[in-house]
């Protein structure tokens, strides 16, 4: 897995476009168990990222990730802004400290996951985006260096998002619904899955 500037630019573009395209689905999921703004918020944030794509693609990777993070923080307008923003800020920060892709991918991704957990004061199992990010991190660790890594990450994310449906939410707006949150896929888990799948698809397309 190489990550040349053009590869990265295309990867960010595909990921942002996929999030924007999934906005109606994210909104629909969020209307079921939240305040219904996750799709429009994510769309606003990733449109802002697309607007900075040329600048982002000329930056070193660590700075580029931090720019994406800061852009999401400033434009999303819901809790998902600081949550996704912290992921990219922390991943960029990890790359600033002598870590390199692809060898340190799990480590860098793990820094992002830890930042989400700290920002949301949440763990996996609470029906949040962490219920996709944590299993993906596990796969990145256990399948590191394997030729089918990308395929396994895709499968992990797809299965993980479905596993949020039977969970009862204990964090975020969905927790106000108590047991009525059961039976719905978590919108944050879904947007994390969309992002992970888009990055995988982009990387697969460039192999």
């Amino acid at each position: 897995m190489s990550l040349q500037p053009e590869t990265f630019k295309s990867l960010v573009k595909v990921a942002a476009e996929q999030v924007i395209a999934s906005a109606p689905e994210l909104t629909s999921l969020d209307q079921a168990i939240g305040d219904g703004d996750h799709g429009i918020n994510m769309k606003r944030g990733f449109e802002a990222v697309l607007g900075k794509l040329d600048a982002i693609s000329t930056q070193p990777l660590d700075e580029a990730l931090k720019t994406i993070g800061k852009t999401l923080v400033m434009t999303v307008g819901g809790a998902s802004g600081p949550l996704y923003g912290s992921f990219f800020l922390a991943a960029g920060e990890a790359l600033s400290h002598d870590r390199h892709l692809p060898d340190d991918l799990a480590d860098v991704f793990g820094s992002g996951v830890n930042a989400v957990s700290a920002r949301g004061r949440s763990q996996a199992g609470e029906k949040t985006m962490l219920d996709v990010l944590v299993p993906v991190l596990e796969t990145l660790k256990t399948a590191a260096g394997q030729p089918d890594l990308i395929a396994r990450v895709r499968t992990t994310a797809a299965e993980a998002v479905e596993r949020t449906a039977p969970m009862q939410a204990t964090k975020g707006r969905a927790s106000f619904l108590g047991p009525r949150s059961v039976g719905h896929v978590d919108p944050g888990a879904r947007s994390s899955c969309v992002l992970v799948q888009a990055v995988c698809a982009s990387l697969e397309g460039q192999q």
Partner: protein, 130 residues
């Protein structure tokens, strides 16, 4: 006027933020700096880190700033805003775990008496104690 802790009110709704600020001013007049914000970057219901940073700077006092929030996203975005302040200001801003209207009025009343940031926060948070 003696320096007093500033108060920032952050709601998902600009109307609630403004109404809360009106109630605070009714109690403390201009003795305490009060700033408020509400709404996402497009003006819809939500919160904006950028607007929160502006509000903190508007309410700035050498004694610090106490932020009152409504729901989860307001708290998360406020914490993020504090971290994005210049380093010298970060340790002088707290997010109170208190109901937004009652917390803001009580925090401001306490602040008007010249209390420290820790005292202002503690008084607001008594409302959340069991």
């Amino acid at each position: 006027m003696t320096d007093t802790v500033g108060i920032v009110i952050v709601s998902h709704s600009k109307d609630i933020a403004k109404g809360t600020a009106d109630m605070v001013r009714q109690m403390v007049g201009s003795e305490v700096k009060v700033a408020f914000c509400g709404g996402n970057p497009d003006g819809g219901l939500g919160t904006s880190v950028s607007l929160i940073i502006d509000a903190i700077n508007d309410a700035w006092s050498a004694k610090g700033v106490a932020i009152l929030v409504d729901l989860g996203g307001a708290e998360t975005n406020s914490e993020m805003a504090v971290e994005m302040l210049e380093p010298a200001r970060r340790d002088l801003v707290v997010v109170c775990n208190a109901p937004i209207v009652e917390g803001a009025v009580m925090a401001a009343t306490e602040a008007a008496g010249g209390s420290s940031l820790a005292q202002v926060k503690a008084v607001a948070e008594e409302l959340s104690a069991d």
